[in-house]
Amino acid sequence: MSAPGMPADIAVDLSVDLCGIRLRNPVLAASGTFGFGREMAEVFPLSSLGGIVSKGITLLPRRGNPPPRVAETASGMLNSVGLQNPGIEAFLREELPFMVAQGCAVAVNIAGAGAEEYEALVERLDRTPVDLIEVNLSCPNVREGCMAFGATARGVESLVSRIRPRTRKPLAIKLTPQADSISETARAAESAGADAVSLVNTLLGMAIDIETRRPVLANNVGGLSGPAILPVALRMVHEVAGTVRIPVIGMGGIQTGQDAIAFLLAGATAIQVGTATLINPTACQDVVNEIASWMRAHSVPTVRSLIGDLRLNP
């Protein structure tokens, strides 16, 4: 950050258009690491973000998996929360009004055990002030549904086709890195009418306590997130952005503005910050500020000019 570039007080334009939603900046708080925004709203004003994504919501309340639900790994963590959530009705009643009042875009992350549950969730959300529905086809922590759809192009295509007619809200399909080929599942989502794809969700992993000879997680396996997975996520975002025309929401291990810019260059229109918030509660806001400083230092007036501007080596 030595070269001065633009004066520190000059405004840089961080706004992006994400399938018709104008975001103040491309930084969203990822699902599952930001609750419903209540706790973090005490830490910094959420209006400084592009948007927030709710914890995954199901039709009925879910208890989630038994603890332990977390294992630390090298530069990452495994979680097996298992979609603990109050169910859509309690969410709409108790949480959404608060989220909407924060002054940034609001996405609701949904998960279902079968196509019918996804349909019902999407219908229920259609007449709410939600800006974007993020359809989680990639949760590794529940036995039913979810990942089963997300693992193959055919599964994604059939599910998205069923939910598409039920809402006019923009749909972002959240893809799993465990898919046969993530470009194919992304293409399937696009052709079935998705407005965007979100990637990546966590990678299925395991940690073992060699003293007890048991997995650390009560659920035996969990989802790997954090900087450890960044190179894999970045490669997938680049691959998918080169394949589909709908916007890509990139995530996986982003901790800094620099990381976020790498995802933008790789082709993401917006990015999400997940696990970083667990270590640094102000991570999302810091990423926004670091993107802005970097743009000033490099005389980049608009964040849009970064999107997809990666030049491949010959």
Binding site: G64, V70, E72, Q84, T277, I279, T282
Partner: protein, 306 residues
């Protein structure tokens, strides 16, 4: 930063007590450190904000030089006058081992205070040490084992400051593993130290020692109108046994639970503790709540013990 300012929340509990929490990372210098036992350090750390609003039983979440996630550590003593707090850390895995290598002058990166601490009855009148024998003053019995004794020291201080009578029972594997005995003796009207291998006040475990203490006529006599409360922190089996004993005897008891944490601030839901709760939606009679936010201190009767 003041207690009602930005980034500070007030979580009111059923008794109307408010616990202030703060998740903005701060760097705080280590003022002094003391090796209690090999691999067990007591640090005094400067953080006037924390010292001004933290309550016994709350915790901080520390960055460690060797590890990815922060590590939750209970506040031991809270020293508003000095703008500092004490914490005790046992070197267990790589993360706490690295923390225990830190020395004076180094800075700790932490967030806090976090969670809900112990509830104490409101100060009825200005308690001073000379009302130590007032028959209607409430009594607190703190029961601890291992590193679980740290938060109890601050709790007993606070209880005495509120005019309560203070009793403590601490359990250790053997006398060589015991620590902070002098401090607990000083802050307790009556203390009883147990060791599984003998050599301290009581030969046996902490729960037996509690039973012994409670059967002592002078103690039974001291339980006047103000009543007796218990607070426990230590190994899971100890807390479970203390909870059962308290329930049998009809004594209100709070326990400080431990659960592996991610954020410590309530956003990630990994720190599930199973408790009995009135579920407004119907459904199961127990629920997972967040150790870091609804806890770590719970009413012992709420807890679903494995």
């Amino acid at each position: 930063m003041n207690a009602e300012g930005e980034g500070v929340s007030g979580m009111a509990n059923e008794n109307g007590d408010r616990f202030h929490t703060d998740a903005v990372p701060r760097e705080a210098p280590i003022l002094s450190c003391r090796e209690l036992l090999p691999g067990l350090m007591l640090y005094r750390i400067q953080d006037p904000f924390l010292a001004s609003c933290a309550r016994p039983g709350q915790f901080v979440n520390l960055k460690t030089p060797d590890g990815f996630l922060r590590r939750p550590i209970s506040l031991c003593r809270i020293r508003p006058g000095e703008g500092a707090v004490d914490i005790g850390i046992r070197a267990l895995g790589a993360g706490t081992r690295a923390l225990c290598r830190m020395g004076c002058g180094e800075r700790i990166d932490w967030i806090g205070p976090l969670g809900r601490g112990f509830l104490l009855p409101p100060r009825s009148n200005q308690g001073t040490s000379d009302d130590a024998d007032r028959p209607d003053r409430p009594l607190l019995l703190a029961v601890g084992g291992g590193i679980g004794i740290f938060p109890l020291l601050g709790l007993l201080e606070e209880a005495r400051a509120r005019g309560m009578g203070t009793l403590s029972v601490l359990g250790f594997r053997d006398p060589s593993q015991a620590f902070l005995l002098r401090e607990f003796r000083e802050i307790s009207d009556r203390s009883l130290f147990a060791s599984d291998t003998g050599g301290l006040d009581h030969h046996g475990n902490a729960v037996e020692a509690v039973r012994q203490l409670l059967s002592d006529p002078s103690v039974r006599q001291a339980v006047g109108k103000g009543g007796l409360r218990m607070a426990a922190c230590g190994p899971h089996p100890m807390m479970k046994a203390v909870a059962r004993l308290a329930e049998d005897l009809g004594i209100p008891c709070q326990v400080s639970l431990e659960q592996r944490m991610g954020c410590g601030t309530g956003v990630c839901l990994v720190c599930a503790c199973e408790v009995r709760r009135k579920n407004p939606e119907g459904g199961p009679a127990t629920d997972y709540v967040r150790c870091c936010r609804e806890g770590p201190v719970f009413d012992a009767r709420e807890v679903v013990w494995e």
